[in-house]
């Protein structure tokens, strides 16, 4: 059968590329040059990457997952009518629309992410074909700034960057603030190390974020915008930069947009790797060319911000919802969610989860639904133990609280926070004390150093946690940790310090037994803390393959090649790095 009328669409975000999308595209071009291959942003089914869709342009779609260059010929042959359906790869087909794999997307409600994975982020016409720039045109054709703010008020959207402040209230501050030059900053710093919602939006649907910026700017009267994008996101910078250029050419960005008297332009500023620069006043200092140090508020940026002008900072995801809200109405948005929290929220699932990726669900959904129904539960044989929400500013929610609904108040009640959307899922192989130590190491490293309690307090906490992980902890240390938690929270100037102790507070609250095991029994139940574990070889299981010997960085393993059971670890040399455990195919190495 002729396949020249078929289109192939391959997802190509940073992560798709990491999974090998370039090779897959090359394979399609090599084996079926007559097919029309194009790329789209990443749909966020990370566990299925590389994803390729074959369609006939009339809505008949076959979607395949885990595609490699080796499976491409099989897919092509099937569509040529010369081979069987590659069932193992199939995610969706016109005959099979309810496959388990497809439910990952089918069980989501996508508003912010509505275009991601469906359009080529470098093509403005594809964005236009999906109602793109319709909202700003509608606004310029006859909505006042007040009406725009009213619509956003009806939607009840709250900032998605973490703090959850109602968007329309913030805009009103800046709107009523005197001055005819105002700034809008899109916060794409995505500082939570373990989250990638904003990356996928900036990279996979940049025009949506630009249109969101236009709507916000029009509403409170900004004439210049900055997109502050994390340094580690080169593809986001590239795609966003191209989108700005194309939007200029189309006449939706620049002077007198669509013939109106509304002018707005956007410049990209790349971050330089400082978590604290996600904080509003630090971000402003950073754009001004200074060290990113927060300052005391008031004055709030909405009154006196960038270069002394009224400035609004909005998160990428907040902005990405705005075009949809204008097109569909605030009420439609508010029909999702609960009394406390309206609309949807995007989460990035990673860690010990079977189906990691991006998930957008209505507020009010249970955490358990996200992790189990959508995420497919634990990726190992071990049950899930906890999930970390909100990154270093957040806390862990233990398994017995997975029925908590995703709402600002309900999550706060657990001691965690909604955060920006990072969800790191953990099973029994994660040590909660080590995790707390990790986060405190992070915040201590990222503290700008201005406040004594943040600077010294986080260092003290990190030292105490290290001491406990090293098996030298005492029960009194836990009391000191609790005291420090209170002092740092109270005496810090910015959100970084105020929330830094959260990971310790929540792990202490829910996993005190793990702390006690480290202190009293000198034992790490998850077998993570290097000072409290040993690696040994069970002679009966060792095949004598010598892999472990080659991998050991300190030459702690000796044995005779091909002689079963001959390998032994010299405990005096072993640094418990775990390399031997990872390479041993015979499961002969025991960590305890």
């Amino acid at each position: 059968m002729d396949v020249s009328n078929l289109n192939v669409i391959v997802g190509e975000g940073t992560c798709g590329i990491a999974a090998g999308s370039k090779e897959v595209i090359e394979a399609f071009q090599k084996h079926a040059p007559e097919m029309n291959v194009r790329t789209v942003g990443c749909v966020g089914m990370c566990h299925q990457e590389v994803i390729a869709e074959v369609n006939d342009g009339n809505g008949n779609r076959h979607i395949y997952g885990n595609v490699t260059k080796k499976t491409v010929p099989q897919i092509i042959n099937f569509h040529k009518g010369e081979g069987d359906l590659p069932e193992k790869q199939l995610i969706f087909s016109p005959d099979d629309q309810d496959l388990d794999k497809w439910r990952y997307l089918a069980h989501q409600t996508r508003i912010a992410l509505r275009n991601v994975g469906y359009l080529d982020p470098t093509s403005i016409s594809e964005y236009e074909a999906r109602d793109g720039y319709k909202a700003i045109k509608k606004i310029l054709a006859g909505m006042t700034p007040e009406q725009v703010i009213e619509e956003v008020k009806t939607s009840s959207i709250r900032g998605r960057g973490g703090a959850g402040f109602p968007t329309h209230i913030k805009w009103n501050f800046a709107k009523s603030s005197p001055g005819d030059f105002k700034y809008l900053i899109c916060n794409g710093d995505e500082g939570d190390p373990g989250a990638f919602m904003d990356r996928s939006l900036l990279e996979g649907d940049p025009h949506n974020v630009i249109e969101g910026m236009l709507i916000a700017a029009y509403a409170f009267g900004a004439s210049k915008g900055y997109a502050y994008i994390r340094a580690e996101y080169p593809l986001a910078v590239e795609n966003f930069g191209k989108a700005i250029k194309d939007a200029h050419e189309l006449g939706v960005l620049g002077d007198n947009i669509q013939g109106s008297n509304f002018s707005f332009d956007i410049k990209i500023k790349e971050g330089a790797g400082a978590f604290v620069c996600g904080e509003e006043t630090a971000l402003i200092a950073s754009i001004e060319g200074d060290r990113g140090m927060p300052r005391f508020k008031p004055p709030f940026p909405a009154i006196k911000g960038l270069f002394g002008k009224p400035t609004i900072i909005n998160n990428v995801e907040t902005l990405a919802n705005l075009p949809w809200i204008i097109n569909n109405g605030g009420e439609a948005y508010a029909s999702h969610g609960t009394e406390d929290s309206k609309g949807t929220k995007v989460f990035a699932l990673a860690g010990a989860i079977k189906k990691g990726g991006l998930v957008e669900v209505p507020m009010g959904t249970k955490i358990r639904y996200v992790l189990e129904d959508i995420g497919g539960g634990s990726s190992s044989d071990l049950p899930l133990k906890a999930v970390q929400l909100g990154g270093p500013s957040g806390g862990c929610v233990p398994e017995n609280l997975f029925d908590t609904t995703i709402e600002y108040a309900a999550i706060n009640a657990t001691g965690a926070i909604m955060g920006s959307g990072g969800m790191i899922v953990m099973d029994g192989t994660t040590c909660m004390v080590d995790l707390a130590k990790y986060f405190l190491g992070f915040t201590q490293n990222e503290s700008c150093g201005k406040c004594t309690f943040c600077r010294i307090g986080t260092l003290r906490m990190r030292e105490l946690l290290t001491k406990i992980c090293d098996g030298k902890g005492e029960m009194e240390d836990l009391t000191v940790l609790e005291e420090l938690t209170e002092q740092i929270t109270k005496s810090s100037l910015c959100g970084l310090g105020q929330t830094a102790p959260n990971p310790v507070a929540t792990t202490l609250k829910y996993f005190r037994d793990e702390y006690e095991a480290h202190i009293k029994d000198k034992r790490c139940p998850a077998a993570v803390c290097k000072s409290l574990i040993t690696h040994t070889i069970t002679a009966a299981d060792c095949s004598g393959c010598s892999l472990c010997e080659m991998q050991c960085p300190v030459d702690a393993i000796e044995g005779q090649k091909k002689i079963k059971g001959s390998y032994v670890i010299d405990q005096a040399k072993c640094i418990n790095c775990g390399m031997c455990f990872e390479v041993c195919n015979s499961k002969a190495i025991i960590v305890q």
Partner: protein
Amino acid sequence: MSQSLEAKVEFEDVLSWIKRIGSDSSSTVPLLQAVQSKYGYLPRAAMDMIIQNTDITGSQVYGVATFYSQFRLKPVGRHMIRVCHGTACHVTGADRLDTSLRHILNITDEEQDTAENGSYTIEQVACIGCCSQAPVLVIADEVSGNLTGANAQRALKKHAKKNEEIVANI
């Protein structure tokens, strides 16, 4: 070793960046980024040229250069390896990627992050946004995910072969 990696700074390059980016104080970060993307670090000579040819003061240049973790003041190897140490990567074994790469590059001194032969520098970064494929690393521009220590070595060897670099151990 570090001496041989010291970059030779071209005055014209720095001037062209100043011309393109600007010479006011809000250009500090982008100017240093331009310098670093060319040389891999911030050579003293380049920073001095910025101070002499813009409105940016010395204390601002050094203040910014030492504040942001992106900036490096020491020369680097010919290629960069960035190992992610974000939360997802931390809980899935980022440490083992470091261990295995340092081993294969024979970097034994804990204070060092560049191989003796100047081939590679290992850098730790916070998160590169591919968390569901953790643990993740980037060699030059190429991201690889779902790695074990042995996979990481394989990825490095592949890169080394293509770029005619010699990696030491194993």
